[in-house]
Symmetry: C2
Amino acid sequence: MNHVDVIIIGGGFAGVSAARKLYRAGKSFLILEARDRLGGRVYTKDIADGIPLDLGGQWIGPTQDRMYELVEEYGIETYPTYIKGKSVMDLNKKISTYTGLIPKVDPISLIYIDITIKRLNRMAQSIDTQAPWSHPKAAKWDAMTLSSYISKHVKTKKARSIMITAMETVLACAPEEVSLLHVLFYIRSGKDIDTLLNIENGAQQDRIRGGMQGVVEHMSVGFEDRILYNAAVKSIKQSESQCTVRTEDHTYYSSKVVVAIPPILAGRIQCDPPLSLDKRQVFQKIPMGIVVKCYAIYKQPFWRQAGFSGEVVTDEHSPYQTIFDNAAEDADYGMLMGFALADRATQLMRLSQLDRKALMIKTLERYFGAQSKDIWMYEDLCWAEEEFSQGCYTGYFPTGVWTRYKDALRTVEGNIHWAGTETATVWNGYIEGAVRSGERAAQEILTS
Amino acid sequence: MNHVDVIIIGGGFAGVSAARKLYRAGKSFLILEARDRLGGRVYTKDIADGIPLDLGGQWIGPTQDRMYELVEEYGIETYPTYIKGKSVMDLNKKISTYTGLIPKVDPISLIYIDITIKRLNRMAQSIDTQAPWSHPKAAKWDAMTLSSYISKHVKTKKARSIMITAMETVLACAPEEVSLLHVLFYIRSGKDIDTLLNIENGAQQDRIRGGMQGVVEHMSVGFEDRILYNAAVKSIKQSESQCTVRTEDHTYYSSKVVVAIPPILAGRIQCDPPLSLDKRQVFQKIPMGIVVKCYAIYKQPFWRQAGFSGEVVTDEHSPYQTIFDNAAEDADYGMLMGFALADRATQLMRLSQLDRKALMIKTLERYFGAQSKDIWMYEDLCWAEEEFSQGCYTGYFPTGVWTRYKDALRTVEGNIHWAGTETATVWNGYIEGAVRSGERAAQEILTS
C-alpha cells in the first residue's frame, strides 16, 4: 500500500535528479525532504518587489554540461555575471583597481602565484577523479595539508595571502583543514584552478534568471505529488525484500533507497543493519565547509556608473574573500554580494546581523565610496547554521581520508544508494556534480 | 513533578563522576544512559567461568591521581600488568626478543627514535594544555600532520615504522589524520611519550581486579535509582527557566544539563535554541579513533613458562600494533590481548569474526609457538561499531581544529555543561580525563 520502488532522501539537486530519471523510467518513488522547499543548498528567496536573491548555489559555467542541458530543456533564461569595468583589490589594507584578470601585485608575488597555480594544475591533471587514491603520490599528498604545500612553495607574504584567499574561495575551508590530495582531486573534477576561479569561461560565468531554485522546481514538474516536505528521515531498516524508512511521525516502505544529503547528515540516520564500517568512518570524517553570503541591495547600481565591475578580491584584512555584483545588467536595482568563507565566516557570525550589516556597509564604503551608505536592504545567510545542510558549499576531506576510505561515500550498501555532490567525480562540490550524482544513483537502480 | 536539578546525558566515567559530585552536594539529578549498562567506553564482559574481560578502557598509571583515589576510596584491588620475561619484536617480518624497555633495532634507527621522542617531548612540555592554541608555534604545528613531522625528521624506514606503531598505539588514529599540535597537547596532558607508552611507571601500569567497569559501578552506589538505561537522548530544549530533554519515548525536565558523551554523538542531539556555531563546527570536525581489542584465552599462560612476558611490539606487517598478557600473575588461565588500531583495525574488521580468530591464532603462533593453536576462547570488540561510542579511545583533532575552535568543546551553552574525556586538560583521552571532566562540569554547576 505504502510501498514504492524507491524512496529518495533529500530534495536537493541530487535527489530531484535521481527522481526525474526514475520518473521517466516509469518507477514509483517518493522524495522525503526535511525542509519545506526543494533545492537544499540552492535557495532563492524573493524579497520585497520580487527581487530574487540566490542565498545558496547560483552559478553555472562551461563544461557543466548537464546544467546547460537542463536550462535549455526547460527554456530557462540565463544571464552573464556582470563584469564590466574595473575590479578592486584590497591587499595589506591598501586598495587598488585593475581591469582584466591580473590584479596589481608586485612582479615577484605574481610570478609565485602563477607558478603555484600552474604546478597545482599540473599535479591535478595527473589525478584520476574516479580513484584519486590510486595516484603514485597519493599517500604523500594525502598526508599533508594544502597549507603545508603553500608554506613550502609560495615564498612572499603577498603571494601567500592571495593564494589562500583564492583557495578558500574555491573550497570554503581553510588550507590548514584540508588534504592536498583532496584539493588536487577537487581542482581536477572541475578542470583546473583557472576554471574554478574565473567568471568568464569559468565556474562563475552564468546566472539563472529568477534564481537557481527555479531550475530544481522545473525539474520536479510532473511529480510534485511525490514530494513530502518537513519529512526529516530518522532511520532506515533494510530487510531482504524491503526498506523501511522512518521520519518522526511516519513510516514509508520501498524496494530501494537513495540517500541524497551531505555525509555529515547521512551519518546521523540510524541504519539497521548498520552500514559498513568504512561508510560510518567516512561519515565521521568529512565535515562541511562554511560560507556566509551577504547581500547589500541598493536602489541603483551606483558603482557601475563609476566604472566598477563590483568585483573585489581581498586578503585576510577584509571580512569577505570576494565580492560580486550579483544582479543582471538590465536589473533596475543594485546588488553586491560578499562571500565570507572559512575563518572569515566564523568570525563574521560572532557579530549580530545588525553589526554584520554595518560591517558590510563600512567595507563597501572603502571600495565604492560614500554612496554605499545609502543601502536599501541587507540579507545574509550562514549555511553552517542550516540544520539540514550543516555547511556549504560541500563536504571536504581532511588529511588521510581519501587514501583510507577511497570511494566509500558512494558504495552501494544492500538496497541503499548514495548521491549528493560529495559523491561526484565531475564537478564535485558544485550543482553540476549533484545532478550527475543523482542520475548515477538512479542509473544504478535502473540497471540493478 | 518530573523536574530535577541536573540531567546528565551519558553514564560513562564522565557522567557518573559528575553525578557522584552532585549526589554528595545534595542535588537531584537523573542519568540518561543509551546502553543497558554503565561505563561507556569501559566495558567488562564476564565470560565462561567468571573470567572478566576488559573489552574497553582497562589501565591506570602514575599521575592518574583521581583514579587511584577512587580505587582506594572503594577498596578496589589493583594488580600490575604482567611484564616478567622477554618481549617480542616483529619488525620487517623478522621476530626478535628483548628484555627491558629497548627493543633490538639497528643503532641508527634507535638514535632516530630516541631523538624524535625527546624532541616531541620537549615540544609537548611547552604546550599549555588549558590553551594549546596560545603557543607561539601553534599555527605552524596545527597546519601540519604528525605524518609530515615524522617524514621530515625520522630518516630510516625502521625508525619510522616503530614511531608510527608507537604513536598509533597512543592515539588510535593514523599519523596522517591528526594535527601535530593535537599530538603535542595529548602527550603533554599525560606528561610525556614515555609515560604514555610504558607499562611500569606508565599509563599501562595497573589493572583493576574484576575489571574496570566495577569502578564506575562502585561510584554509582547510592544513586542507582537515578539512572535510566536504554535512554538515548534525541533533543534538548532550553528555555530561561528549564531544560527539556527528550528520548524516543519520554520527556524529562531539569534546570541544568551535563552532556557527557563523545563529540560526534553530542553533535547528533538536536538543540533548541541551536548551539553556538563554534560548538556545532567542532562537533563536525572531531572524529573518533578506531580500536579493536582481540582476546585469545588459554587454559594456561604457556608463554610465561617459556620465559615470555606476552608483550609484542610490531610494525605494519602484523595485524596488531601491540599485544599484552592481559591477566593477573595469579590467574589460573592465560590471556593475550591484541590491539588493532587505526588502519589495522579497519583492515581487521573486513574479516569475519571467525577469520579474525584464525588470524590471531596464526599470529600468536609466530610469536609463541605451536601451543598458541590450543585456544580456549576468542573474543573481540571493534569500538567504531558501537553505536553509542562510534570509536575509541577518544576523539582526535585533525589539522586546523585546535587553533580555530580553541576550548569550544567545553564552553558552557546556556544551561548546558560539557564533560567527556575529550574536554579534559589532564589525561585527555583516558579514563582519568573523563573523571576529571565530569567533576569539572559538576563543579561549574555547583558554583553557578
